[in-house]
Amino acid sequence: MSISPSIVDHVARLARLEFSSEERERLVRELAAILDHLAKLNELATTGVEPTSHVIPMTNVFRDDTVGRSLPREAVLESAPERDGEFFKVPPIIETEPGP
């Protein structure tokens, strides 16, 4: 099962990743081989089988909406690559961003 370079580019955009042209070439090959193996699942009939999203029987785990201990703001902002007072600082978010 081969995968086209344009699909690789599309998926890379979705994943916010960038690749050199050698990396991209290698990825096309590696993903094709892996996808071939994954296609094995098509041997199994699964009509009517419930998908498993969670292995232990559990629904709607709620807690009361009460105030508890939070992380101190300063402790969190200490990790910031760039900050401005109480804010994380980032480069401009321009209007014309590449499409999905």
Binding site: H37, P51, S53, P91, I93, E97
Partner: protein, 463 residues
């Protein structure tokens, strides 16, 4: 103090060659040891792990200590909080001696995917210790720490335990809190204990197990006394060996060692029978859709905004793609790509949904098997530890290493690896798998086996 000093000396002596540790917290460990020594006079009041050094896989948050996840994207990051398991360990008196090496974001079976270099197997430094918890396993195997924590999403505690000749347990999904465990695949990840003996493993599990309001996927079920149930023996225990797991593709010595181990348990009073897990051959492709898909969502947070690496760029989109492109290693990027593809519009039904359905079939196989047996017995890995560099160029070959461990994660069951043999001086592991939340039976059988043999007494010859 003597114990902590001995571990630190051992780390100084052998870790330059083994490379199990990414960071060692010498001064805090010595301070903690000093404190526990003064409290020792009052022996009755000592908590269960008082003064015991423990090594923690570097994907578990330890406040103030670097937590890199084996990745450049978190190089230098210090978490502002402890994981629940670390809090419980500290309360039990354990001393965190350092953070151990791993495959980046727990993605790998050999610890070769670490951004900071591989860990070497203490039994043969030219071979891998297994992964992704290779550092933790090597630390215990080489005598650098008596206890360690690893994580297991597709076999990452059991495999390195098998390759390094120690005990490693993956608890039932939900048995141990994941709060503070950096997420790889949220429906599969579990933190697990690594130690030299089953008894030590049981002790460590006792401390970390139990529901946690900060992890909504943790089970609010009582934790039995694991240590108390160890000496029960295996009389009348029904053990099933899956026909699909033996023979084909197994290294001959592994096949022989695992079968010999089953006969030891039979001698001790267990009854053996054959069971069938027909979907086991679909477990690896199922996992390599589900885990990368969940990972693609979990790793979206590494974007250079709030923590970790940021690569400077003129606009935010370029900052994301450059930071992630440079910060993540090849295997991580490969899995994010796989997962994003499997979840994307047009491919979701054929890949992700299909894999979730096959996961149900894998679970059903085990449910049927447990209708007639109490434990399932099989190998941990198809071979003993392979050479560093041997499989790294072929991702698919690497993925197939997990063929016997992945089904257990898909089904959410408890599984243990105990040493049961050796081939050319390299350890072989025996895997025992139990019903959900039945770690007590798994540990009891593992302990009975261990005490009937000498494998757990062997040590790698590292000077």
């Amino acid at each position: 103090m003597d114990l902590v000093r001995a571990c630190l000396d051992r780390i100084d002596a052998v870790d330059p060659r083994v490379h199990a540790f990414l960071s060692v917290d010498r001064s805090s460990a010595l301070d903690a040891a000093r404190r526990w020594d003064t409290r020792r006079a009052d022996a009755d009041a000592l908590p269960p792990l008082a003064g015991l050094p423990i090594a923690i896989k570097d994907i578990i948050c330890s406040q103030g200590l670097p937590t890199t996840c084996g990745s450049r994207i978190l190089e230098g990051w210090r978490p502002p909080y402890d994981a629940t398991v670390v809090t419980r360990l500290r309360e039990a008196g354990a001393i965190v001696i350092g953070k151990t090496n791993l495959d980046e974001f727990a993605m790998g079976s050999s610890t070769e995917n670490s951004a900071f270099g591989p860990t070497c197997n203490p039994w043969d430094l030219t071979r891998v210790p297994g992964g992704s918890s290779g550092g933790s396993a090597a630390a215990v195997s080489a005598g650098m720490a008596p206890l360690a924590l690893g994580t297991d999403t597709g076999g990452s505690v059991r495999l390195p335990a098998a390759y390094t000749g120690i005990v490693g347990l993956k608890p039932t999904y939900g048995r141990v809190s994941r709060y503070g465990l950096v997420a790889f695949a949220s429906s599969l990840d579990q933190i697990g204990p690594l130690a030299r003996t089953v008894a030590d493993t049981a002790l460590l599990l006792q401390v970390i197990a139990g529901g946690d309001p900060r992890d909504s996927t943790s089970a609010d079920l009582p934790v039995p006394d694991y240590s108390a149930s160890l000496p029960g023996g295996v009389k009348g225990l029904r053990i099933g060996i899956p026909r699909e797991a033996m023979g084909a593709g197994l290294q001959r010595e592994v096949n022989d060692a695992v079968l010999a181990a089953s006969r030891v348990l039979e001698q001790a009073g267990a009854s053996l029978s054959e069971v069938s897990l027909p979907t086991i051959e679909y477990a690896v492709p199922t996992y390599y859709i589900l885990a990368p898909s969940e990972a693609s969502a979990n790793l979206a947070r590494y974007d250079g905004v709030k923590y970790g690496l940021r690569v400077r760029a003129p606009d935010i989109h370029a900052m994301y793609t450059r930071t992630r492109g440079q910060g993540f290693g090849g295997e991580v990027k490969r899995r994010i790509m796989l997962g994003t593809y499997a979840l994307s519009a047009g491919f979701y039904e054929g890949f992700f949904l299909k894999a979730q359905q096959v996961r149900t079939l894998v679970r059903k196989d085990f449910t049927v098997a447990f209708g007639s047996v109490d434990l399932v017995l099989m190998p941990v890995a198809p071979t003993v530890a392979f050479k560093i560099g041997e499989k790294v160029r072929d991702p698919l070959q690497m993925y197939l290493t997990d063929i016997y461990t992945i089904p257990v994660n898909l089904a959410g069951l408890p599984g243990i690896s105990v040493p049961c043999g050796s081939a050319n001086g390299l350890p072989i592991g025996l895997q025992l798998i139990g019903k959900p939340f039945d770690e007590a039976t798994v540990l009891r059988a593992a302990h009975t086996y261990e005490q009937s043999t000498e494998w757990h007494k062997r040590r790698p010859q590292l000077t």
